[in-house]
Symmetry: D2
Subunit: 303 residues, 4 copies
């Protein structure tokens, strides 16, 4: 299988490295040059344009951070759709909106190509270690042809079904569930603190019981230590994903009240200058709303 | 230590049984007679009134389901405060509102008694097996004197601090966090289903990753199987607790937007006749809001 | 008709004055003595206890600010229910919760008395001028017997039906609609200001068009001038009423999402020390959430 | 002044008619042909393309219903920006998003042209009668040059300032305030009905008091009569505007919790098949949430 990988940010670089190490015939490209360096030492060949990266390939993989970047790379004369051979496959591994994916799938289908969405679960270090989860959606035959490739990349795949956007819906749902857990923790820690409870005690109760899972341990720890500069996922990126979840809901006429609250709180964090902090900083937004940031533990209005 | 146990519902019965088996000098009482039966065979002595249950005891424990029941039992001529000796301790193990607990603590203090709040984490079967978690709040000396007793009951204690209501705040925060997890799952499963995703696949993604914890496994399973008659915690009791969390927030001037959404959805479930179903039925409320209950997977308005 | 009036706050005093001037046989009482003074010059007779105020009267009117005060005055040995003659009527003119009113109505009915709820629309100065609107609910015959009395007090009555709590539901709905108007204005003015719009311009657009009504003119003006010390209705009293609206919704299993937002924002205002300011200060809560209070007009995160 | 008018829907047709009657040198164009007919009899000249409509004109006015339509018409080789002479003005009278307007203003400025935003308040019949309100934003000199033109169209102008998007922010804020009024009425009428209150009585209380304004009279009447097919503004168009308000908030990092609720309820209405009904149908969404649509007046869960 001749593969090309476009988009060599931290995550893309780690995934492309897995393919290089698995000795795939691999071309790599990045908008900003100079990112391929180390990969070429592992067998990848750097090319100068998306056009070159597409010509004559079986599979082209993209790992991009925004829908706009995906559209720019996919459409137009020099884009993926125009330059990938018929019968080939575009695997989208970034997290994108359902609208963008639906549009892209239609364009690829019209060009005799297939779109497979394969967003990932995990961080770049997990990617490098082959520990990613991969959610896969797209036409069954195309998905089948990607099986080996995806096995070389990740630990496990989840089958989303025949619609590429279904895979994105699952990825967005996963991040939304995480955001919901963080927001409710933010409120719950503030409530407890209003009654002089040490945050570490509530943390113990939660993670020692019904919530003994990474979502609560990792983000709860950040909240307890108010260490919002230890960034797993920034407010800005989280806002992007929650907006995509809301848009996916909008597209399908599904109200998502908890996502609305998350969006408002993330916007508040943006406004307060926390765009680049970890999104557990929602706990600080909560204390701004309750004035407990400024004044310490609450006193009852009635006291 | 001479102990009395008041309130022999399923949870109270299980806890009192632990104390009987540990050979405590134990009086038991229940509003509705006939609940003590089996306990007397294990060494407990049934009495006919709260007054009898209080006279000359070191510790009286209550396990009641509502604030009103607690107030009725504690106050008045025949109540706990009036009949418990000075120097004794009232251990409240039910889940109660902070207002009720603050009032009760003040009354006990005025009578030379101490109030310890000790709400529990776990179900009646866990209680019978000595597997409960216990959150303990109250004056340090009184808490210290309860140590052996609580060790006979549960697996682990969490120290909430010197205010009894702090323990309730933690318990309410814990249940609120659980409700938040359920509500966000409810929305996320509906979103995914709107894109033809099988609920079981999203369940695998969640519980196989960041959310590998009982809250998501137990309630996610109920949602996937739409098996809302497999009741862990009813909508009606959940609404009681969320209202107590909101009241605790109100008392301390802490806004809790996620609790507001939970309250609304639980009220909707009440209105739709699901009061006695498991609160995972919030997933059904979500599908009512998005009309997907009636119409199956969503279609985009634009299609 | 022999009438007694209990509760001589600003509103109660103004209403009792109307009855005095209409030459009713009028007894007056207030918990804190010394409030009746000027009324006695107009023909009212001050009495020393609720018991005296009830004995042998046809109608007793209460104007109290809290449910607790109403319960204390109505129940117990020295209370209204115990001391009012059979066949007489208790007219509740304060704004109370539906639960309190339902309980009170049942007690009066059991005592052979009738409860009429008659909450008012308007301020004390409108009351003094006979310009109040009065919402009347209760048994038809009792309402009919109050007709002359209410005509002496207000400008217009609205018939809520045979249930006393229906009148309270209308009053609470009215205040809730007002709160909703204020909250949405708060958000809209902040949105406009984020685009360098002068608040006075948006005010002109609103009040010169679809919103040419006192709710928008009075509270919009306060928002434009940020003059939250010009108090029409305090945050604390508004919170009481919104909580009563939420409780009325809870009692009837009716979710009220907009009331949830109002509650959260009013709690935030309490927490920020604005309890005694006009509830238009919700506009300041909004600017706290968007950080525009501190930083002036918003800049796009993307700029 | 040589004027062109593009977009002859109901509103555009009515406004263009005002200009024709005022004897402006007027070219008209519409994407779907055959809409100009009657206008040509009043002195307008129909042209076949936007290019023709732009060449050599002083002012081109667009009245379009979507941002996409505006972008398609404005950009590209045959678009407004490319074909309007330097020094000329584009007046955008449709309701558009701030992002689209900011982008458009930059493009016009780069081409030596000016963008003036002039969204309108009122319905097509008001437009035909010259009764519109017009919110005007853009560079002062360009706005000044449009003064006569706008005076020929409307009854009154509101000065939004030098940024075109400011005018859009005001228009969106106005519609958001209207939506908020409708949603809170929806909830309040449901609350009242839960206590057997006839909707017409609450309507009298509201519109006879603080809410004696068209927003409450028009939409309250529709709610009282449940006459959602009497359409002033459809759910689908309302959703578009609320989404634009949320996007404007997002662009400036301003959380808008009430808009989030509106969005969810409008999506629910879409999902329930009410896209083409008047947005007062939010009252029906509310009764769906409270189950009172199906079951009639609520009964307390406790009864």
């Amino acid at each position: 299988v001749k593969v090309s990988f476009l988009g060599l940010g931290r995550m893309g670089h780690a995934i492309a490295g897995r393919l290089a190490d698995a000795e795939y015939d691999l071309l790599v490209w990045n908008r900003t040059p100079g990112r391929a360096g180390e990969l070429t030492g592992r067998g990848a060949v750097a090319v100068d344009s998306p056009r070159e990266a597409c010509a004559g390939r079986d599979v082209v993989i993209t790992m991009l951070s925004h829908d706009d970047a995906l559209r720019q790379l996919a459409f137009g004369e020099d884009g993926i759709v125009a330059n990938l051979p018929p019968g080939s496959i575009h695997v989208v591994m970034g997290t994108h909106g359902v609208d963008a994916v639906i549009e892209l799938a239609a364009r690829h289908e019209a060009a005799g190509q297939a779109l497979v969405a394969a967003p990932v679960l995990g961080r770049p270090d997990a990617a490098a270690a082959g520990e990613l989860g991969i959610i896969v959606g797209g036409p069954a035959e195309a998905v089948e042809r990607c099986r080996g490739l995806l096995a070389a990349i990740g630990r496990r795949t989840f089958a989303a079904g025949e619609r590429a956007e279904s895979a994105m819906a699952i990825k967005l749902a996963n991040n939304f569930v995480l955001g919901g857990a963080i927001e409710v923790m933010a409120e719950a820690f503030d409530l407890a603190r209003g009654y002089d409870v040490k945050p570490a005690v509530l943390y113990e109760v939660l993670t020692g019981g019904l919530f003994a899972a990474p979502a609560y341990k990792v983000y709860g720890q950040i909240i307890v230590e108010e260490d919002y500069d230890r960034v797993g996922f920034t407010v800005e990126l989280a806002l992007k994903d929650i907006n995509l979840a809301l848009a996916a809901g909008g597209h399908a006429a599904i109200p998502l009240p908890s996502a609305g609250i998350l969006r408002d709180r993330l916007l508040g964090a943006m406004a307060h200058g926390d765009a680049d902090r970890d999104w557990a900083v929602l706990a600080r937004e909560q204390t701004r709303a309750s004035a407990s940031e400024a004044t310490g533990p609450r006193r009852s209005p009635a006291q």
